[in-house]
């Protein structure tokens, strides 16, 4: 059977029902990501996947969740910077929504890093916190982006995108300083290093990258959902505003 009639039928179906790709694609991606995450978790937990580390034992497997979460968070904040700069230049509302979404999801992933870090440090070094590079930088990033989210919540809606974008740029400027100051601080006050230091077993690297891929896909889907929610929210807000402008009896607004 030739390909063309099928393609034609599919394109007709899509044009008649524009939401179709999303209705089909999103659930498919969810299932695929679920499978990927499960496989990655299996590989992280089973000695068949990642070999058990000699000194730390099973606890070291927290590494496969701790590190990819950090990398995903950094990636999301990087996208936030891009979206914020783009917004400052072009004032595009989509960029503003993207900035908000990546900041929120980034904070969630940072929280995971900050929770798994101490859970890992405690049995290994007997302390809950260590001024490790990754952990400390994540803490400062978490603080900066939480303050970003507070700014978004507390400023009046007209100015929020611009103010938030300016804060994001300054926050990003801060990152190299955070890195260097902690690096030097640690050379003066040596701290336990979380992670494998230098070389890493290739099987461990493989599982690490697998988990990073899985979490990145997961982050993408979460961002997509949050993006759709925010777009819908803004459309509803506009509808409410139009209503009150036209002086129709307004429906009771549900509390936010």
């Amino acid at each position: 059977m030739s390909f063309e009639p099928r393609a034609l039928a599919l394109s007709k179906l899509v044009t008649r029902n524009p939401k179709l790709p999303m209705k089909i694609v999103f659930p498919i991606l969810v299932i695929l990501t679920g499978v990927l995450l499960s496989y990655a978790m299996y590989m992280a937990l089973s000695p068949n996947g990642a070999p058990t580390e000699q000194t730390m034992g099973m606890v070291q497997r927290i590494f496969y969740y701790h590190v990819p979460s950090a990398w995903t968070a950094f990636l999301l904040f990087f996208i936030n910077l891009g979206a914020s700069v783009y917004y400052l230049i072009r004032r595009c509302p989509t960029a503003d929504i993207l900035a908000l979404v990546t900041a929120e999801v980034g904070v969630v992933f940072c929280t995971v890093v900050l929770v798994t870090g101490p859970i890992w440090a405690r049995p290994v070094w007997g302390i809950w916190w260590t001024w490790d590079m990754r952990l400390t930088s994540t803490l400062v990033l978490w603080l900066i982006y939480v303050s970003y989210l507070f700014l978004r919540r507390f400023s009046s809606s007209g100015q929020t995108p611009v103010l938030a974008a300016a804060l994001a740029v300054l926050g990003a400027l801060c990152v190299p300083f955070v890195y260097f100051s902690i690096w030097f601080f640690r050379t003066q006050h040596p701290q336990p290093v979380m992670g494998n230091g230098g070389s890493i077993d290739p099987r461990m690297l493989h599982v690490l990258l697998l988990n990073w891929l899985a979490f990145s896909c997961f982050a993408f889907l979460v961002c997509w959902s949050r993006f759709r929610l925010e777009k819908l929210q803004r459309e509803v807000d506009e509808a409410h505003a139009m209503r009150s402008l036209l002086d129709e009896p307004a429906s009771p607004r549900s509390a936010r």
Partner: protein, 41 residues
């Protein structure tokens, strides 16, 4: 897989945090849908 409590706690905490966030998204979405129904009336 040996039952290491810290390992379990770390993985559980990760998913609890993610599910909590997803729950807030789902709830807000449901609330918005209700608002849209009201607006349509």
């Amino acid at each position: 897989m040996t039952a290491d409590p810290y390992l379990f706690a770390a993985y559980a905490a990760t998913w609890i945090i993610h599910i909590a966030y997803l729950t807030t998204i789902v709830r807000r979405y449901a609330r918005l849908k209700r608002e849209i129904e009201e607006l349509k009336k």
